[in-house]
Symmetry: C2
Subunit: 896 residues, 2 copies
């Protein structure tokens, strides 16, 4: 038998209880193909078929969209095996074999890529299908569905063009539902559709099944790069170079009457994690009808009453599959005339709450180890735990209730289209209200706080995607009647318009008028257990970036082990301080600057006392003043405009003069590129009195707490050092000032002096800088800015373009760029430790709370990461996962 | 005998025909001390004395301004040797030994540090001096001079305080000249001076010679860090950590009557390089009188008539010294009652023209090798050759003529103080007019285009410093009468005021009213010979940065071997193009953008045709559009102001609307940090039509010239690449476009596609980038910006502060920072060549024309440097020197 490593084998067969592929070969066969192989080998009833590998997809792109040589022959050969297995012939007018053609990448991308069903039909085979099933209407319905799907997916004709023809026919026949159309009506519709294809493409609809198959295969390959797939990959951190497999499988039909059905389900509740058989189905329906959310399906328990034998078999199979895969399974099945077929099984997506519950339960059940449990939870999901929930004491005006598809609470202004969600969502919170969602809506769902749909069940597109995003979602709220054109919905006598505020409760399904106050969610017991395991598994410490006592308290609650970055300038912007800060800046000489600073001193000291108190026993890193001074002054262009207006309106010249004097000072501080200007340690060097005031406040605060018996070790951090001499200068000043304070107060406190490494020059000369620095903290925001030459304030626009066009895989401000910035970080750590082997090294950029970046930090040997308080749990899990992966202890693989 | 390496020996004796030091020990003894030792050993008559080493100076600073232990004893011991040599005693009331105390660093810093003469005088020794010399007036004059000098140099009392007392006395005595004062008058003056010292310092003037010596020694050490020394070092690239030696030497007196004299000279003309004995002297004067430029001295030839024996001896000695040192000597001598003493010899500073002439002459004379000749010329001086001279056809209004102290031509507005020169010089060209200059004036001289003095000779301070700076200078123009207070000078009936324009001709000494047109200077024959040697010696190619044919022509004239950087945006700013460029930017869609670009295309093509024609046979690197687009639009704040004013004045609302529309577009392009914004390749990626237009223009131009038989290989350079994918994207576009043009024109031309390496990320991922790039050009301006995080537009202020405070040694935008930026350059070269061993690598930042940076580029193995046309000769010499130094071929050392 050929192995997965074979260079030439592009097609893997499954059927008759045996598959050439394996469940582990997701890279090659995609998730769906691997699942089908695994199920087949496990004796699960699966319609026979074959998988064209992701390798063939990648070759397809390499060869300028041509499939590799030999593939066609392999497909023909495997098609013959499928024909043999089901006893039907592809294109055979008597007993026609119909197949589905589905995409299937390594990681599940629900609905993102294209699928063609009922392939193999043409004017001859449709007759055979009618005879074989004894159901002419079914056969012609399948045929028209096929043309419609093939037309839109493969030929690129707008879906609405087909819908219009269908509606026109229905109107002509006075038919309300599709099912009101007769076989003859459908025959006429097929003619109309074929004419439409001819008109739109200038060609006949391809009648030859082999040609249909080739074209569909290529369409699936092409769909790997369609915009919604690209967006989905970006949102879910899926690499663009994996490619998709193509699964060709004998069709089974859930729409052959009341003994046929189709459904989807989960082995455990993907919203809560409860161990319960969970799913939905529709009788007499084709597979896509359930997932698309067009009809609201019945809960799976009902199947136990309607088809008890099938239900029992399904329960047994899915329980076996969960044990086999040692994880929750998300499955699809079809019942054709009483016979059960499994069409797909894959790892089930789940909410954070469910992920933690399932992981801890499975450890208890002995199914997985603690390490595996830790790897099962996507770190980024964790902040769902910390999201606020509705305040139970609030008075609420519940206008409707739907299905609680994804928990949490969301308030926002109503929008009715994904485009509006994106536009309005950029400036305020929005809730997206739709009849149902489809894969094209993904950007709008991403932009919204929450999603409400009128149709669809717990496994509808909206529900699945929202759970994956950790977004609050209520589905199947059939009471509401949406009028998209009029931009409103009606429900129980209310008319709710675009721009009105509503609140969704994703845990109960309640839809509430107006905005409801929220409170912090209590952390579940499973969460506490899980995080204890996490903390045992990690080596990296996790600190928080916090500027004020309130943030410090939150950080402690989320498990921060100190403050990695306190930005002192945030204290300068406080309303009562800004005027004093401005006095300081506008001072004409050192003595008046010192006078203003002396007014700030007691305020700064109190800030630090508060922080230190919250962080008693933990380290607190305080960064000295960093931003350019003009940030504290009125805007230059506003002053210019005011003065110009005052002048033409002939106002009081004293007012003009005083504004002009202010403008002069603002002008003298104006910079073309403030990010590269007079900021960071450059301030403390030119105005040493600022450093002196801040250090005095820090050390006085530490001395005061020392007297109270609270021990703190402030880590004084000098920002934006590029040359060791800058640090030498400021360190001398810090030491001198600290010495004076300690002498004056009679208390001796320990403190460290270190620096941010946030300029490329600091990284490449880290050996020199470590001569002076007692610790390093990588400021990867600024380091990314200067390494790429990207201004964070300005680069958004072209970074988006870059990601859309595959120039950058990810936004380097979100995910640390390992190849470039990471190289400088690694160099900084290595050089710094060469000079000072015990150098304490951390990171305090946004990356400190991003899982892939945390993994990198673990890898290069940092001592800690620091991130915003709400990201602390994420960083803790990411650090534990990095540690576990490094040790190679985990037998399982991570879940997406 | 102790060696220079000895750790404890701080004092080196010279006298009686033998010295402990050596001429080569400039590091340890300073230039002056080494010269005195060398002269003593060579049997030249030198008054005995000793040198306290630079090591002692550095220890002094290390120990918090305390001299190292043991030094005092060594000084006492050596003082005794001096006493023995001259037969007089330090502090001896009968036969008092007087000494001079002078600074002397490794590199000559004329007048920058402090000197004390006549040290050893007090109320008792002054009487002995009077008896010994039989000249009471002389003795008291020496005493009052000593108090005055010691008072200002050591005690820090303003010179003017002494001058005032002297003037008051003269007024009281109705004396016009100092010499009109009698011995008794001077005795009274000494009393007045001592009272002044008491009043200013609260202490008695130190009477004890040993104390005088200690204090003077420390003052000399301290003078190493005085502001003018710091400025001088910065301007002349002298490291701050060398320290100065202190030379203590028995006084000889040139002011003991008409058989005494003092003078300075050069063995060759330092202005023209002619081989002629060149110098000046004053009879009955003390040494400082000549150099200070207070009295205009007589030419040295006159000494041949006045003191023929002395003149003969002097000629012989100095000729011998030039041979000995194998370089032009700048010497000082004193004649005391008919006896010649040499006080100093050192390498003579010279103009570029003189440097080249002397170097080539000395090769002809067999004194030095070609390699040494190349090392003798300071590359930076060379641009003096290229400085324009006055157009001989111009009508000129000569109002006076002085001495042609430093050649060239200078026009500018008159200023009378160095402070005004700095302030006014920042905005327009100025000429500094002074009675004489002193070391305190150096910042003003630096800021001026030219210097005119009313007094002083060819070796006066103004003359020496101006020659060193390569600045046009006319001295000793005694016809002009300066009234500094009224800010004017009168000359031959003209009254010339501050702010009036004058022109100096430094080659003839003419002072001309108004501004005179200039022409390019012809390059001398010696220059051509010298540059031929230079080109033979260098490995690095030298190209020029040139955007238009005129610059390209100049570049060729100065020896450029191609264009290393053509900035295409400079073409966009042309008056006839800017409106079209604005149309392009304001275009609402791609097709209207393309329409505007199509109008630019023929213009760009003509630009390139012109450039290629000038550079026939040489490579031309063309950088695609680089600056952010808003640079081409009106300023945001101006529009805002205009609109606000239009609104309050109730103007035509259509005008407001159109301005607002423009403002909207400007706002949408506005960036907080444009340097890190949407520029460079980011433009061509988001607007591929811009790249397409520029490449079309380049390739069409190349094809057109190819038809004329002119072969060019355009090197198309993609700016600001940080990620290989950016280059991949643009390269594909370039290749596609070039292919289309060549197909259309039927001509095939060769071209290269490469990139700037100007972002840290590009340097650290150069191995990846070299997969795509056929050449690299280091854009060290931008690379310095991002590596340091310094905006070139904004950082000037704090960089100045940094240099003044020793945080940075040099401005990294002027001299390539080897430790930081240089490390990235080296990494980029190494990684790039690892991927593509034959990668062509150059540099096109400002550093490409700066000698130390060129040396670095040679060292890291670049193929070429590119700089502004006028710096091409400098780069050629610097490249040759780097090559010679590397080979270690040169036996001599470089001259400063």
């Amino acid at each position: 038998m050929a192995t997965a490593q074979s260079k030439t084998k592009y097609v893997y067969f499954f059927g008759n209880g045996k598959a050439e592929g394996r469940g582990a070969w997701k890279d090659l066969l995609g998730g769906k193909g691997a699942g089908l192989a695994e199920m087949t080998n496990a004796g699960v009833p699966v319609p026979p078929g074959f998988t064209i590998t992701t390798e063939a997809c990648n070759k397809f792109y390499e060869n300028g969209k041509k499939v590799p040589g030999g593939l066609d022959a392999e497909v023909r050969e495997n098609l013959a095996r499928v024909e043999a297995a089901v006893g039907r012939g592809f294109g055979d007018p008597e007993k026609p074999l119909l197949v589905s053609v589905r995409s299937g990448a390594k990681f599940s991308m629900p609905g993102m890529m294209d699928t063609v069903l009922n392939l193999g039909l043409n004017d001859r085979t449709v007759a055979g299908l009618a005879r074989m099933t004894g159901n002419e209407r079914f056969a012609w319905d399948a045929y028209r569905r096929f043309i419609q799907m093939f037309g839109s997916v493969v030929l690129g004709i707008e879906k609405s063009a087909f819908e219009e023809k269908l509606s026109a026919l229905k109107a002509g026949r006075h038919a309300k539902l599709d099912t009101d159309l007769s076989a003859d009506d459908l025959k006429e519709l097929v003619k109309t559709y074929k004419a439409l294809v001819r008109e739109k493409t200038g060609r006949e609809f391809p009648a030859e099944p082999a040609v249909q198959l080739e074209m569909s295969r290529d369409a699936v390959f092409n769909s790997w790069h369609n915009p919604r797939a690209v967006t989905y990959r970006r949102l879910n951190d899926i690499p663009a170079n994996l490619g998709t497999a193509v699964n060709v499988q004998a069709m089974v039909f859930g729409n052959l009457g009341e003994t046929s059905a189709t459904g989807v389900g989960f082995t455990r509740n993907p919203s809560t994690g409860e161990k319960e058989f969970y799913g939905e189905y529709l009788t007499n329906a084709q597979g896509e009808d359930v997932v698309a959310g067009i009809r609201t399906p019945r809960p799976i328990a009902t199947l136990g009453q309607e088809m008890p034998e099938v239900f029992k078999q399904l329960s047994e199979i899915t329980t076996r599959l969960e044990k086999h895969y040692r994880d929750v399974q998300d499955f699809e099945f079809t019942v054709q005339e009483g016979r059960l077929y499994m069409l797909q099984t894959r790892t089930g997506k789940r909410t954070a709450r469910a992920a933690v519950k399932i992981a801890t339960d499975m450890v208890t059940e002995g199914l997985i180890t603690k390490e595996e449990a830790i790897l099962r939870v996507e770190p980024n999901q964790l902040d769902q735990f910390l999201h606020p929930i509705l305040d139970p004491r609030a008075n609420v005006n519940v206008i409707a209730t739907g299905l609680p598809a994804s928990p949490g609470a969301a308030s926002g202004r109503i929008v009715f289209t994904p485009e509006d969600a994106v536009i309005r969502g950029a400036v305020e919170k929005v809730v997206l209200v739709r009849n149902e969602t489809c894969p094209d809506d993904i950007h709008g769902m991403d932009a919204a706080q929450g999603i409400l749909t009128a149709r669809g069940g717990m496994t509808s597109h909206a529900a699945v995607v929202a759970r994956g995003m950790g977004k609050c979602c209520v589905v199947g709220c059939e009471e509401i009647q949406i009028n998209e054109e009029a931009r409103l919905f009606r429900v129980n006598g209310h008319e709710v318009k675009e721009g009105d505020s509503i609140t969704l409760d994703g845990s109960t399904g309640r839809v509430i008028l107006g905005e409801v106050p929220t409170i912090e969610a209590a952390l579940s017991e499973e969460y506490e257990v899980f995080m204890k395991w996490v903390d045992e598994a990690r080596r990296l410490k996790v600190r928080a970036n916090a500027d004020v006592p309130r943030d410090a308290r939150a950080a402690r609650r989320f498990g921060a082990e100190g403050i990695g970055l306190c930005r002192t300038e945030h204290m300068f912007f406080a309303e009562d301080r800004l005027p004093i800060v401005q006095q300081m800046i506008l001072a004409v000489d050192t003595s008046s600057r010192v006078a203003a600073l002396n007014k700030l001193l007691p305020m700064q000291r109190e800030d630090f006392v508060g922080l230190f108190r919250e962080m008693a026993g933990y380290p607190v890193t305080i960064r000295l003043l960093d931003p350019p001074l003009h940030e504290f002054l009125p805007k230059r262009e506003e002053l210019m405009t005011e003065i110009a207006v005052l002048k033409v309106t002939g106002r009081d010249s004293r007012e003009i003069l005083s504004k002009e004097a202010l403008l002069n000072r603002v002008e003298s501080l104006h910079e073309f590129n403030p990010m590269l200007g007079h900021r960071g340690c450059r301030l403390g060097i030119v105005y040493p009195e600022i450093t002196r005031m801040q250090v005095t406040a820090i050390i006085e605060a530490a001395c005061q707490l020392d007297k109270e018996g609270i021990r703190v070790v402030p880590e004084i951090m000098i920002p934006l050092v590029g040359h060791v001499n800058e640090l030498k200068n400021q360190k001398a000043l810090v030491d001198e000032t600290a010495g004076e304070v300690m002498k004056r107060t009679g208390v001796t406190v320990e403190y460290l002096v270190g620096t941010m490494i946030e300029l490329p020059r600091a990284a490449v000369t880290a050996d020199q800088i470590a001569e002076e620095a007692e610790f390093f903290s990588f400021g990867t925001n600024d380091l990314t800015q200067t390494t790429f030459g990207f201004s964070r304030d300005d680069a958004g626009k072209f970074i988006r373009h870059y990601i859309q066009h595959g120039i950058l895989e990810k936004d380097p401000f979100q995910v640390l760029d390992r190849e470039g910035v990471g190289q400088l970080v690694a160099m900084g750590v290595e050089k710094g430790r060469k000079t000072r082997p015990k150098l304490k090294v951390g990171i305090c950029g946004e990356h400190g709370g991003e899982p892939s970046s945390v993994e990198f930090c673990h890898g290069v040997g940092l001592d800690y990461v620091s991130c915003s308080p709400y990201r602390v749990p994420i960083a803790r899990v990411a650090a534990a996962q990095a540690s576990i992966r490094e040790k190679g202890k985990a037998a399982g693989s991570d879940q997406r």
